[in-house]
């Protein structure tokens, strides 16, 4: 399904190919050799060594770890997530395609359509802002593959460590208000999004990603079409000027550079909704087992999890001092009921003080003060439990082929000296 006019081929394939090949020939002259598979290069992109792609990311703190620069993917080390509300420059980046450049905010439109919409409507950004009531919520977004790097056997893809998560304050309109103004047919079961990002191959006929959520999730109060993060424009790499935000679900549901929403009469079948993407085995499997596509189920609410954001791992402290620790905990559609810490590798656990969420899907904050009994090497482990009495595991949770949903407890290393 391809229905975004701005992504249509401007000249047709032959002219595009000619232009690209011409550019490649000149690149080949510079390199003094041909570029094999160079025809796969997206427009405006060159190969390693011809441009400085390791330069810091636009709108982002230089301390983010860049996992991948094509497409851009970067995570935030846990100690930089210490703020209660994650600042834009510290919010992780997970892109499947290439972010649009030269976004024209004044002419940006959002189309609502699909077979289960009563009609198709197009809104400008100004119309969205003037026609519907504004809401602001703190919403936690975590990449479904956060923690992937620990899976064994390994899963392919960006090897996320701990920091593909953040909780910022998002402002926009309720998705349900917009959908209801267009009108939903009674057979509506799912919504899907399309964005203005482009496929890594440069093929204008392909979507980089087009996912969505069931209609019930779409109609929740906290499900937003947002244009602001922490009272400012959303960072370019996080979806400026418009994106969906569904707290507590894999962040890939929350489409960036949002240009179209379709109301579907079936589970949305856009790119990365089908096959094995963002799915786990419907029934648990052993490590390394192959799972057929039809036995994979779509991930919905994310599992309970926590991060110690102070101190940074690798801290040294004197035995006479007490160590304050703090961090955040979140639990998908649930609420975190308690956070505990252990300094003896999980043998004993002590309670942390913790806050209630400011709204649904906002992460919660915990803190504790630790007295160490003697000098030595310690690990501080944090373990959150949700209101369904489900806790984080200490080792890796169930293996799955694509390496999703690793919510094993966070550990930091501490040395206590005399």
């Amino acid at each position: 399904m391809k229905s975004i006019p701005s992504k249509k081929k401007p000249f047709g394939v032959n002219r595009r190919r000619f232009l690209r090949d011409t550019a490649l020939s000149s690149m080949a002259v510079i390199l003094g050799t041909d570029i094999v598979f160079g025809h796969n290069l997206p427009k405006g992109m060159s190969i390693l060594g011809l441009e400085d792609i390791s330069a810091s990311l636009p709108g982002k703190d230089g301390r983010l770890s860049i996992l991948n620069d094509r497409p851009i993917n970067a995570e935030t080390p846990p100690y930089l997530l210490d703020d209660k509300i994650t600042p834009g420059e510290l919010f992780f980046v997970r892109n499947n395609g290439v972010a649009p450049v030269d976004v024209d905010v004044n002419n940006w439109t959002l189309t609502i359509g699909g077979e289960s919409a009563k009609k198709e409507m197009v809104f400008t950004l100004a119309e969205l802002k003037s026609k519907f009531k504004h809401y602001t919520y703190q919403l936690t977004l975590e990449c479904g593959g956060n923690g992937r790097k620990e899976f064994n056997p390994p899963a392919k893809g960006n090897q996320w460590g701990l920091g593909a998560v953040g909780c910022s304050e998002w402002t926009g309109v309720r998705l349900k208000d917009v959908l209801e103004s267009v009108g939903l047919k009674s057979n509506a079961v799912y919504i899907g999004y399309y964005g203005a990002d482009t496929h890594l191959s440069g093929n204008a006929d392909k979507d980089a990603i087009s996912r969505g959520v069931p209609i019930d999730k779409a109609m929740e109060d906290e499900s937003l079409i947002a244009w602001a993060m922490n009272g400012e424009d959303i960072p370019v790499l996080n979806g400026h000027p418009l994106r969906l935000v569904f707290g507590g679900w894999p962040a890939s549901c929350s489409g960036k550079w949002l240009s179209k929403i379709v109301i579907r009469n079936k589970v949305h079948d856009g790119v990365k909704m089908t096959g094995q993407a963002y799915r786990i085995p419907c029934d648990t499997v052993g490590p390394g087992e192959k799972v057929a596509d039809e036995d994979m189920c779509i991930i919905e609410s994310m599992p309970v999890k926590s991060l110690i954001t102070f101190p940074k791992t690798g801290g040294v402290i004197s035995l006479k001092d007490q160590l304050p620790i703090r961090g955040h905990a979140w639990a998908g559609d649930q609420i975190v009921s308690k956070v505990e810490y252990s300094i003896d590798f999980g043998a004993t656990w002590k309670s942390c003080e913790m806050s209630k969420p400011v709204n649904r899907h906002a992460w919660q904050h915990f803190n504790a003060t630790i007295s160490f009994p003697k000098v030595g090497y310690y690990e501080v482990w944090a373990k959150a439990t949700d209101d369904q009495e489900v806790s984080q595991p200490m080792i890796l949770p169930g293996w799955n082929p694509k390496g999703y949903l690793n919510n094993a407890c966070h550990r930091i290393a501490i040395k206590v000296n005399k």
Binding site: N68, R70, P71, K149, G315, L396
Partner: protein
Amino acid sequence: MKKKKPVSYEMRSATALFKAISLVKSSALLVLFLVLGGIIYISFQTSIDKALQPSPEPIESKLHNNNSSTLDPNRVEKGIHVETGMVYDDNFELVRRSCTSCHSSKLVTQNRATRDGWKQMIVWMQETQELQDLGKYEVKILDYLEKNYSPKDVGRRQNIKIEDEDWYVIKLD
């Protein structure tokens, strides 16, 4: 069974003549096709082979100084090609050119997979990411990936890598 129609002598000779002409024509076409095809094949192979030569050859760096900005990024240090972060080994140049024309080398270096796992990734890229058939090069590419980027058995959870920790004194208020 179909009955054969009776064929006159004239018709037979006309048919023979026609067949002969067709044969000459198709032979000529075949020769032309073979020659052209050969030229195209040879030039394609030459260009593809030339393109996959390790050229420019990375410099095996003897120095390990920290002033990296003045050094050629296209160099090898401790067996790692600095610019891409990839292991400098047989078929490095082939893998570099095949993979990094579309995506970051980081997508190679951060992943680990069996030979079959890498093969599945290639198939996935061909099915969804417009990667073309790698032909005879696929074996060499897989050789390199299997040798240098195979999984290590890390168990259910690894130790915190304390040797990598940047130990610091915690500042308390």
